[in-house]
């Protein structure tokens, strides 16, 4: 029966570890990348404890596309205008799933969330008649990553302005439709920001602990 218990705990850790946070922590430990040194783990931990000062981006010389990378040349279908637009966005697909180095039988599809300019959005809100205080307070919440459907991207490094990723406007496209000349990354997330990104994706798409009944009660 132990093997079944192990299987169950793997699928439903939040249920299995009830009352034992040490086991939840232990589970996360198993999923942390092996290549992080002790010093790097301590550094990432310190960065995540201070989101206000979190360095979001890092420079990688490797051009392989990674989950959480910001790139241009993405094809987004705009339902309001009923047309396709070429936009910038952040990659949601798993890094291995879009790696061209991996052998696969099926074509690669890239899932992404489009990104908007924070300054332009703020200007549109004010132009629409919204009060300064309300807009300022909303942007404080956005920068604190409080809005479920948004992932804030600060003005740091190569990113010249603030941007906001729209997690509710995700789109998918064949990787082969991405032109080679636009594959240069606009940004790549730091290790700490990548963990923050994963948590936000999880909170937006996978609220396993939400306790929504899917049964009619019959």
């Amino acid at each position: 029966m132990q093997i079944f218990k192990k299987f169950w705990m793997t699928i439903f850790p939040s249920y299995s570890h009830a009352g034992n946070p040490a086991e939840t922590v232990s589970d996360i430990k198993e999923h942390l990348p092996f290549f992080l040194s002790q010093g790097q783990k301590e550094k990432v931990s310190a960065q995540l404890r201070s989101l206000e000062n979190l360095p979001y981006f890092e420079h990688y010389s490797d051009n392989a596309l990674l989950q959480g990378d910001g790139i241009g040349g993405l094809i987004f279908f705009n339902f309001e205008k009923n047309n396709c637009e070429t936009v910038g966005g952040i990659i949601l697909s798993n890094s291995c799933d879009i790696s061209e180095g991996n052998k696969r039988l099926e074509p690669i599809h890239l899932t992404f969330a489009p990104v908007i300019s924070a300054a332009a959005y703020k200007a549109k809100l004010l132009a629409a008649g919204m009060k300064d205080d309300a807009v300022d307070n909303k942007f404080i919440d956005i920068r604190k990553q409080k809005i479920t459907s948004l992932f804030w991207l600060p003005k740091q490094g190569k990113l010249q302005d603030e941007y906001i990723a729209l997690l509710s406007h995700t789109c998918s496209m064949p990787l082969k439709a991405l032109k080679k000349d636009v594959k240069e990354k606009v940004f790549t997330l730091s290790q700490a920001a990548f963990y923050l990104f994963l948590l936000k994706i999880n909170l937006h798409f996978c609220r396993f602990d939400e306790n929504i009944s899917r049964f009619s009660g019959e």
């Binding site: 029966m1 079944f4 218990k5 299987f7 939040s14 249920y15 299995s16 009830a18 946070p21 040490a22 939840t24 922590v25 232990s26 996360i28 430990k29 942390l32 002790q38 783990k41 301590e42 931990s45 995540l48 404890r49 241009g72 040349g73 705009n78 309001e80 205008k81 637009e85 936009v87 910038g88 890094s95 291995c96 790696s99 180095g101 052998k103 039988l105 990104v115 908007i116 300019s117 332009a120 959005y121 549109k124 809100l125 629409a128 919204m130 909303k138 919440d141 409080k146 809005i147 479920t148 459907s149 941007y163 729209l166 406007h169 963990y195 948590l199 936000k200 999880n202 909170l203 602990d209």
Partner: protein
């Protein structure tokens, strides 16, 4: 990154396997505490257990509660990141809120103009 593998699942259906699966899942349900509440993470957020909570009295190998750590220093540091992620997730989960109808409308009405053109 290059260790990607694809698990191919057969499209065939086996009644005997289905029955066996039902029995196994029923067995698990009767032995595991699935009705218990979610884990309480407050205990791992107590400042006393943070590695950097040093003072003139306690060095980096000591805790103000337990004295000397029983584990190695590296083990304590490694645990720190996992605890930080659990705590951050718990924090984010509690503060999440929707954008709001008015803000969403302005966004949707002007989406094409707002989209980044990298």
């Amino acid at each position: 990154m290059n260790n990607y593998t694809v698990n191919y699942i057969s499209g065939t259906f086996s009644p005997s396997l289905s029955t066996l699966s039902g029995v196994l899942i029923a067995g698990m349900l009767t032995t595991l505490p699935i009705n218990n509440p979610a884990p309480d993470t407050r205990i791992i957020r107590r400042n006393e257990y943070v590695i950097n909570s040093t003072s003139a009295t306690f060095d980096q190998y000591s805790s103000s509660i337990t004295g000397k750590f029983t584990g190695s220093v590296s083990k304590v540091i490694v645990t720190n990141l996992e605890e930080t992620i659990v705590t951050l997730y718990d924090h984010l989960r509690k503060i999440q809120e929707p954008l709001g109808a008015d803000f969403q409308k302005v966004l949707d009405d002007n989406l094409s103009e707002l989209l980044a053109r990298w």
